[in-house]
């Protein structure tokens, strides 16, 4: 690529002698793939414009298909079938990635565009108390209150249990019990969220009789989903703490539990916090268990976890969609934007913490 003027050079094989070129056969010039891509894009969008049905996604798909076919065919005639297959697969792999970005971009764009029209100070600070479904009023304050209260209690239950279990698995766990816990934590990760909700329904029915819905029930259901996530991430982080740190502490005569509290946990604190925030981000969007346990018809602000139904952001979105009117959909989009913003903030905070306080390993 540096000094050569031969158009056949592939760049990667280096400059072979003249004799080798015949063995390698011909090869497409380096500018061929981008050129084909540009032409495909032009042809695709031109054809769609001519038909009067231009759509970005359709154009992209046709471009990709055209590119794959043309490059594959060109490579098969100029080069050989093996290289043609390689180029074809390269195109397919790129298309796969593009396909995955499509829903992400589309979803985020739709939520932001649709949600921004209604998301304002008013929407965030009033509840739905006294607002009829089709009235052009009301907001999500009660749902934010519920989400904060329920997720907070769920975190209060899950973090100690999850953290202590992780400590047990890393610091104490030997033998059958540890193996059983590891296995069943994996099993617990796979529990469908609706089943966690049903479990609490069944539990509450046994404890308090039928029809009892309150925020605490929702928090317990979320804990069932959150505990395994906390255990998994904490376990990984605790295993990263170097053994020498523990040994140094033991050598100074520090008891094991103090070693864990004063040496192991502070070393891993950044990772632990990150893991917990990611777990929170996961359960904060859970809907199904809350529909079953905390109710889906609360409209007023309720700070009491143990009395009465409690709305939350995801359930708010769901129940507004079920009502189906135009105003309801607007509210749902705005609430979805609020929820996504909260989740993204948690994610950002988690990454920030892990970057700022990352444990210093080794020397």
């Amino acid at each position: 690529m540096t000094t050569t003027t031969r158009p056949q050079s592939t760049g990667s094989a280096g400059d072979g002698p003249q004799a080798q070129r015949s063995i390698r056969g011909g090869s497409l010039p380096r500018y061929a793939p981008p050129a084909v891509l540009a032409v495909s894009a032009l042809v695709a969008s031109g054809a769609l414009f001519a038909l009067g049905s231009f759509h970005l996604v359709t154009a992209g798909l046709i471009t990709a298909a055209l590119y794959a076919v043309v490059v594959g065919a060109a490579s098969a005639t100029v080069e050989n079938s093996r290289k043609a297959k390689d180029r074809l697969v390269t195109a397919v792999v790129y298309i796969c990635f593009g396909t995955a970005m499509l829903p992400l971009v589309s979803l985020l764009a739709t939520v932001v565009l649709e949600g921004i029209t209604r998301l304002d100070g008013y929407f965030l600070t009033v509840s739905m108390n006294g607002v009829t479904p089709s009235m052009d009023a009301g907001g999500v304050y009660h749902a934010i209150v519920g989400t904060v209260a329920i997720t907070g209690l769920a975190a209060l239950i899950s973090i100690p249990i999850g953290l202590f279990t992780a400590i047990y698995l890393v610091e104490y766990g030997r033998g059958r019990l540890a193996k059983a816990i590891t296995f069943f934590v994996d099993v617990m990760t796979g529990i469908p969220s609706i089943v966690a909700g049903l479990f609490v329904v069944a539990l509450w029915m046994a404890l308090f009789g039928p029809g009892e819905t309150n925020g605490a029930a929702g928090a317990v259901a979320l804990s069932v989903l959150m505990i395994p996530v906390v255990v998994r991430s904490s376990e990984e982080m605790l295993r990263l703490v170097p053994q020498e740190l523990r040994e140094a502490s033991y050598a100074l005569g520090v008891p094991k539990w103090l070693t864990i509290v004063k040496v192991v946990l502070p070393t891993a604190v950044a990772g632990l916090t990150t893991g917990i925030m990611l777990a929170l981000a996961r359960v904060i969007g859970e809907t199904a268990p809350l529909v079953l346990t905390a109710g889906s018809s609360a409209v007023a602000i309720n700070w009491n976890l143990f009395n009465g139904q409690m709305m939350s952001l995801p359930v708010f979105i769901y129940s507004q969609v079920r009502m189906g009117g135009a105003v309801n959909m607007e509210r749902a989009w705005a609430a979805a934007l609020t929820l996504i913003a909260i989740v993204m903030l948690l994610f950002l905070a988690a990454r920030l913490i892990s970057r700022l306080f990352a444990p210093k390993l080794g020397r």
Binding site: V92, V93, C96, A100, P103, F164, V187, F199, L339
Partner: protein, 321 residues
């Protein structure tokens, strides 16, 4: 240093009495672990106990009946046949769409993308996993179903002779295929993450050996990477399947349900267990709640088998590699 130090003989003395702090701490830790086992046992136990009275009162065969008449105290007749079929169908659609794409993405991130931006691109795929399922449902019903309408019409026109795509096409787009497509997007990051991890672990020597023999990049991947990564990909696909089987909101919001066993993906109809529970629960009376818990138990059992299978496949790979 060579003189006999009293502390050298101290440990045997200390071994007898354990410090109070150590005992308390160790037992708290062990207790938390045991509590997790108790919770899981409780989940199974309470579901079985609370579902038993409706199952005892059920006048129809629970596993072969399609209809759901449980909201009564007199002769309830309900079964999970249609629901179980719908659950498996939706998850299968999701898996068929997501697995090839996920493998492609994983290959792209590990072998094709420029090193510098590969991590960022991987993070973007992970973002898909961070979006709450209810937002997927909202996006599906408020945006995607309208966009898919033209695609469905085309599919029916050109591939209508395949029974799966037989008409008449639903005019609302609230079909099994729409639900399956949204589920596919949701499980994409799970399968991608697992595949990416195993592809990264492929021994450098295998790859270099293949390239040194003159293999193209694709041939290297086909001969060195894919055979090595297969168990990981299968395990990831099964974990994704487990997630798709239990996913509630996206299906509940998108699908226009009917309790029938129907293979027509472009028409409304079918229903999954999870979505059925979420939709029916607020209106359940009589044996209704108990019957829904019975349906949940079936879902729990299905996902348990799939997830344990996935763990088994992944764990076996670890032993060999």
């Amino acid at each position: 240093m060579t003189t006999t130090d009293p502390s050298a003989t101290a440990p045997p003395q200390n071994r007898g009495k354990r410090r109070v702090g150590d005992v308390v701490f160790a037992n708290t830790a062990r207790g938390s672990g045991i509590l997790i086992l108790a919770i899981l046992a409780g989940v199974a136990a309470f579901l079985i106990i609370q579902s038993s009275d409706s199952l005892a009162a059920n006048t129809a065969n629970f596993f072969t009946t399609e209809s759901w008449e449980a909201n009564t105290r007199e002769n309830p007749a309900f079964g999970v046949a249609a629901l179980a079929f719908g659950t498996v169908l939706a998850a299968t659609i999701a898996l068929v769409i997501a697995t090839p794409v996920a493998i492609g993405i994983a290959l792209f991130i590990v072998y094709y993308a420029p090193r510098r931006i590969a991590a960022v691109l991987g993070y973007m795929v992970d973002l898909l996993a961070a979006i709450p399922s209810v937002v997927y449902g909202l996006w599906g019903i408020g945006y995607l179903v309208f966009e898919l309408q033209g695609f469905y019409d085309g599919l029916n026109t050109y591939l209508g002779w395949i029974p799966l795509f037989a008409g008449p096409v639903s005019t609302t787009g609230r079909t099994m295929l729409s639900a399956g497509i949204v589920l596919a997007v949701m499980i994409l990051p799970i399968i991608t993450a697992m595949s990416r991890d195993v592809f990264k672990q492929v021994p450098q020597g295998h790859q270099e050996a293949a390239l040194a023999m003159g293999a193209t990049r694709w041939e290297m991947i086909r001969m060195a990477v894919l055979p090595f990564g297969r168990p990981g990909v299968i395990g990831g696909a099964m974990l994704g399947l487990g997630r798709a089987l239990g996913e509630t909101m996206a299906v509940a919001m998108i699908l226009s349900p009917a309790l029938v066993i129907s293979p027509f993906l472009l028409q409304s109809g079918n229903q999954t267990i999870a979505a059925h529970i979420a939709l029916q629960y607020p209106e359940a009376t009589g044996y209704g709640v108990s019957a829904l818990i019975a349906a949940g138990l079936v879902l729990f059992a299905i996902t348990l088998v799939v997830n344990m299978g996935a763990r088994f496949v992944v764990a076996r790979r670890k032993e060999f590699s």
